[in-house]
């Protein structure tokens, strides 16, 4: 198969920077290169003005006050700042944090560090669609609980959590609610104040902005939330995050937020149609194709599918010259473990190894999807022709009854 343009369906990993964003950033590398913290000359004032403007653009997108936006290097740093910053700041109140097993590693690994620092963390299970069990969440809250951290939507499956209900539970028990909203901001309407989210991490490069810049929303009123800085220095960002601001990045982030405010509704509508077309065509064309995650509560641009009896990484090799996407299978000697997110949904390791994640974006076209349908179908058929377990399945052998030699 030959296709001139590489098709990019890995927008949950990172999105291309919108050319309108790039254009906005360029003057801030040379002509307007000032440090936003330089108070005594026009270079500094111009930079500060640009940062303030971007802060407004971003605050508008999520309907918060611009003073509530703390710039960071990305969502990983924002997650770390929120979790460790709250843990340190509210130590006298308690040391218990509740999160999900399907969170991003930025949250899970920060929580592990907190456990080493004397904290207690509860990692809640999810149901077969990846959704939190609200009763289990409420039951896990103790008088030592200071924070609930639940991602708005999952990066692998696109499953959206019942945020409003989680917010109500946190409100009822007087516990802070933090959310890693990396996959949702700029894609669907997000309003942390309405939901009762007090801290929210997100990043520019998942919403057609540049890499290397993200933000933490920190609620300033009812309640006034504070986090202990994790980086010592000049006291930037109201003392919560020191370090010279990435002015061009922040300008780009702001522009990306402004574009998203105007276009995300239309983007989401168009992409959900393309996603459904892709999914329906693949399910119609082949047997034993399964949707992972929630079909009902799902991001409009994401589809995570398992193609039974085909290994995901091998399958990707059939088309990765033309199409870029991700698999839940990691077949390396370093890690034979498939995606922990899919395993937490209750998928067997074999189905988790058979998964592909399609994440569409603003620049995905219908031609891309038509080509992808053909290429994936060919790839799966090629791999199934080669697969001994597909052959056994077709012969009616019960695969689970075989004693496999673990290695």
């Amino acid at each position: 198969m030959n296709n001139k343009r590489q098709i990019y369906l890995d927008n949950n990993a990172t999105t291309p920077c919108d050319p309108r964003v790039v254009d906005t950033m360029i003057p801030y590398f040379y002509e307007k290169h000032g440090n936003a913290a330089s108070r005594n000359h026009p270079f500094g004032w111009v930079a500060e003005e640009a940062v303030d403007y971007a802060r407004e653009q971003i605050a508008n997108l999520i309907n918060v006050d611009s003073k509530e936006i703390i710039f960071t290097s990305g969502a990983t740093e924002a997650d770390n700042l929120a979790l460790k910053g709250v843990f340190e700041m509210y130590q006298r109140k308690g040391n218990h944090i509740i999160t999900l097993k399907t969170e991003h590693k930025a949250v899970l690994d920060a929580c592990k560090k907190i456990e080493k620092m004397g904290g207690q963390v509860t990692y809640l299970d999810v149901d077969s669609e990846g959704l939190v069990d609200l009763a289990a969440l409420e039951a896990a809250i103790t008088d030592k609980t200071i924070l609930v951290s639940i991602m708005w939507a999952n990066n692998e499956t696109g499953t959206i959590q019942p945020m409003k209900k989680i917010g109500e539970i946190c409100e009822k028990h007087g516990v802070l609610f933090m959310s890693d909203a990396t996959q949702v901001v700029g894609k669907i309407p997000v309003d942390p104040k309405e939901i009762g989210v007090h801290l929210m991490a997100f990043t520019a490069h998942k919403m057609y902005g540049p890499k290397g810049v993200g933000a933490l929303y920190v609620c300033r009123k009812n309640p006034r939330v504070k986090v202990t800085a994790q980086m010592d220095g000049g006291g930037h960002e109201r003392g919560m995050r020191s370090g010279t601001l990435n002015v061009p990045g922040i300008v780009g982030f702001g522009k990306a937020a402004e574009i998203a405010s105007k276009e995300m509704g239309a983007d989401a509508e168009r992409l959900s149609k393309l996603r459904d077309k892709l999914e329906n065509a693949l399910i119609a064309a082949m047997e034993e194709v399964y949707i992972n995650g929630s079909k009902e509560h799902r991001m409009p641009h994401v589809s995570n599918l398992s193609f039974k009896h085909v290994e995901g990484e091998g399958l990707m090799m059939t088309f990765n010259q033309d199409i870029a996407l991700s698999s839940g299978s990691a077949c390396t000697s370093a890690s034979l473990e498939p995606s922990y997110v899919l395993v937490a949904l209750g998928l067997g390791d074999d189905l988790a190894h058979s998964s592909l994640r399609f994440s569409l974006g603003r620049f995905t076209t219908e031609e891309d999807i038509d080509y992808t349908i053909k290429a994936i179908t060919q790839g799966v058929n090629h791999m199934r022709d080669l697969s001994p377990i597909w052959e056994m399945y077709k012969e009616g052998v019960d695969i689970d009854s075989i004693e496999w030699s673990e290695h």
Partner: protein, 138 residues
């Protein structure tokens, strides 16, 4: 990760894909790996009873590109070899031939296991003593 031309060729045009009748006395079948680990190889040999040489080999593999290429290459090498020579195939030769990256060396180990397991099956069926060291598994 960039793969070698040879590896890509074996992946795209796998040699000797297929299934032999495992009930035949002169056919040896090796099935190694596990679906949970992300790779399963089935390798079969057909031995010429007159000459004692492997006259045909077939495989099917569930796994990544390196696993498929390793087993495809193994079947190519097996044809025409005596059983003893086949037992001498070392996984590092597969690593070299396909230029497998370090994280994929286990795929070549699995292919070696599949060869040994197929031969052990053939020998068992034909009442030939199987040396302990020839049994697969590690």
């Amino acid at each position: 990760m960039a793969y070698s031309e040879k590896l890509l060729d074996h992946f795209k045009n796998p040699r000797n894909v297929g299934t032999m009748d495992k009930s035949q006395k002169n056919v040896g079948t090796g099935l190694v790996g596990a679906p949970e680990c992300g790779d399963v190889m089935r390798l079969q040999i057909e031995v010429d009873e007159e000459s004692g040489k492997i006259k045909d080999a077939k495989f099917k593999t569930f796994g990544c590109g390196s696993a498929i290429a390793s087993s495809s290459l193994a079947t190519e090498w097996l044809k025409g070899l005596s059983v003893d020579d086949a037992l001498a195939i070392d996984n590092m030769k597969i690593v070299e031939e396909l230029a497998l990256p370090p994280v994929k060396i286990h795929c070549s180990v699995l292919a070696e296991d599949a060869i040994k397991s197929a031969i052990a099956d053939y020998q068992q069926k034909n009442g030939i003593e199987v040396k302990e060291s020839e049994k697969s598994g590690h």
